[in-house]
Amino acid sequence: MKFNILNLLSITLVSFLMSCAGSEPTDVQVEDPAAEVEVEVAEAPIDDIFYQVPSPNDLFNVLKDADISYNKEILNDLSRVESLNSKKAKALNFGVYAADLAYVSSLGQIGDASPIFETIRSLSKELEIENAMNDVIYSRIQDNLDASNPDSLFSLSNETYYKAYAYLDNNDRGDVLGMIVVGGWVEGLNIILNCQDYNDSSEVVQRIADQRLTLENLLVFASRIQNEDLDNIIAELAPVEELYNSLVVTEDSDFTSEESEDGVVVFGGGSTVSFSEEDFNNLKSIVAEIRASIIDGTL
């Protein structure tokens, strides 16, 4: 028995050291003019870098300047919250409703924000994170709802998400945090996929293609949280990752860094990603399926 325990500890130690050493090179799809030549991709190892994921509010900033009409039908039905039984389903749907709140407030739909906000408040109690969002925040949100102030509401919906995130992070509840972030990411992507039809010059479509970058961070962020439920949820995102990995990335022009008149540095140049109508429709279908399993509590 002692030998076995020692072996186990040795294996654990070796595994720990190996995990610290970095990861294997990964495949990246890069356009290569010499297609007949064998291509191998090496990447910097994923070591002790902290991976952060933008919130749904960041995602929906693009809607403010786009000619997008508000579509209430793409929001999750609030009555579904009653049928959510497990902690996993509640956490995922907390993220879903947080993304819905961000969408609604980004387009200034104050009237629809209030019931979504109440649903989030109810879920936060069931997930025991109501301490993260104290009465001051609730009161400020209610004041902005009453005053019909969409810009402040958008900012406060961001704050709500941030508070929940920070609270869970600090209280070693990474599993719930990971599920909320995944739920919010899927719902955010589903919303902008349903905002408008494909148009290759649309900023919204470009933002959808850009989600390949946030997905990379999301997957590393979530995969570091030790939780079997979260592992299973992440596995469901594999078709999304596969689609994004199949996109062709082209280095368009050299990087530039110039200062504007008021002192803001503007980064220019870099790579663009090719995102066709077929890619758009395939992604829309894949995400709709994942989102359906989240909102009915079966994922």
């Binding site: 020692l6 900033n61 998400y161 504007s260 220019g268």
Partner: protein
Amino acid sequence: MRNLILLLTILISAPVSFWAQNQSECYNTVTFCPIGKRLGFTRNMQSFSGAFEQGDTSEVSIVVYKNMEYRISVCSPSHPELEGQLQFKIVEYVTKGTWVEKPKFKEEIYYDEDGMEQTRKVEDGVAKKRVYIKEPVVRYDNTEDQMSQDFIFQSNQTRKLNVKVYVPDDGGGEMSSGLSGSNYACIGLLIEHQPGIITGFSR
């Protein structure tokens, strides 16, 4: 044997628990960082609070969206003596292609001393192989900007950027990677955003 097991257990768990404890103590450090003087910035959820080792570099990966204006700043309320000394770089990992030449081999038939047919591998020219490597390229370095503790920028493309923060130790030092020493400081990496001006040059 029991002592050996105990020692191994401590060796495995101690650095992790010490690090975790430090991380917890630094909870919400960014809320104490000075916010942008320019009106309109909102705190971004990619902001980061953590226990950063003095004399070492920590790295945070973020995504910045096209045509959004970002303000990145660093602060250490727990170590005011570090104010103005925190170094940070914004780095982008760029995929670069390079050709690598490897020898090609083919099978050749030959006859051994007994006249039996045999095969062997012989070199048959050189194969070119395209290898892509992601290399870090520095986009901003505050040591070349009078140690400014904040930086405002926007990008014409959505980019994944890594912010490398170096916390000097008492003896000063260069930006490096890897773990050494045991002094930690609570550092806030505050990221704020607001909608940018699309043209970028005529505000």
